[in-house]
Amino acid sequence: MSEPRYEQERIRQALATDPRVGEPELSVDVVAGRVLVTGSVPSEKVREAIGTVVAEVAPGVSLDNRASVASTDEPSGEETIT
């Protein structure tokens, strides 16, 4: 891997602008030589695309993809605004 901080930002930019992902809100960190991606995505398909995009932008890096699909569960309660 090249200078980790530049690589980290290159990956983050790609995950924001590549239409297969398109999620600028994802976090990208380099931890112990591995690229760690965290944050929320709208579907499993987008989550899987993270791996594809990272492999293209940074071939050979080890990816720890911890992005999760946002919950769409029915609310369990409500809040009274005061």
Partner: protein, 258 residues
């Protein structure tokens, strides 16, 4: 008493049709109206908007209002996207407002996408390069338009300000401070305080927190789906309790539709 369902940052794509339909199908069981706080689509594509619009069409008769977010501008097709939601019965707000009669309560919702700049004490200034002036002036122009709209809202029993970008720092807790200027602007909190709205809703800050207040004490809720971790949040508001949180919500302004 009214119940408002609210969610932002749905990031709807064409691969989630069944999921989206299920997500919104239960709204009538929980709420009287639905507010959508922007980033309704992932890439701002009409085919993505159609997926969510179809789910919203199923909520026949429910009052729905929405604003666009930055994702909805990504493909430069925001006008088409906006029109698709409008065709599904969503009151799309960009410096405008709508008034609903819900039971005996007149509820006004004013909305705008909002934009960045930062927060009081460190807001960007319209100084220097044209690009910097343009950045700040975009935010100011949206705030000015909203101000004019809020001034006209004076007959409602309850009023809500609907944004995509954040109006306060507090709900950004957890986001990197370096990007705060790109996450919101205090100008919209100032408007909420000046006009005494009852609730401010926004999205955009996925790593933020749900609850905050304006400097004047008005409740702010970040309803980004990644934050609330459910299909939508539900808030109840009672006109009898107006102003109890903000030191006297002033006369709310009459609404106008865009």
């Amino acid at each position: 008493m009214i119940r408002l369902a609210a969610v932002g940052d749905v990031h709807c794509g064409t691969d989630v049709r069944a999921q989206i339909r299920a997500q919104f199908a239960t709204v009538p069981d929980h709420a009287d109206a639905l507010l959508l706080a922007g980033d309704l689509t992932r890439l701002g594509l009409p085919e993505e908007a159609e997926v969510l619009a179809d789910a919203l069409r199923d909520l026949q008769g429910m009052p729905i209002a929405g604003v666009l977010g930055n994702h909805d501008y990504q493909s430069n097709l925001q006008d088409e996207v906006r029109a698709i939601f409008a065709s599904a019965g969503v009151q799309m707000l960009e410096g405008g407002s709508v008034v609903w009669e819900i039971g005996s309560v007149r509820v006004a919702v004013a909305g705008t996408k909002g934009f960045g700049g930062g927060f009081e004490g460190a807001h960007a200034t319209a100084f220097g390069e044209p690009e910097m002036k343009g950045f700040v002036e975009h935010t100011r122009s949206l705030a000015d338009r909203l101000d004019a709209c809020l001034k006209e809202m004076d007959t409602a029993d309850l009023s809500v300000l609907l944004l995509h970008y954040a109006p306060v720092r507090e709900t950004l807790t957890g986001e990197p401070r370096e990007i705060f200027p790109f996450l919101g602007s205090y100008l919209f909190a100032e408007l909420a305080d000046r006009h005494g709205v009852d609730l401010v809703l926004h999205g955009h800050a996925h790593r933020g927190v749900e609850r905050g207040r304006t400097p004047g004490g008005i409740p702010v809720r970040n309803v980004a789906q990644a934050v609330i971790q459910q299909g939508y949040a539900v808030y109840t508001l009672d006109p009898a309790h107006r102003g109890s949180s903000a030191g006297g919500a002033a006369a709310v302004a009459p609404a106008r539709s865009e």
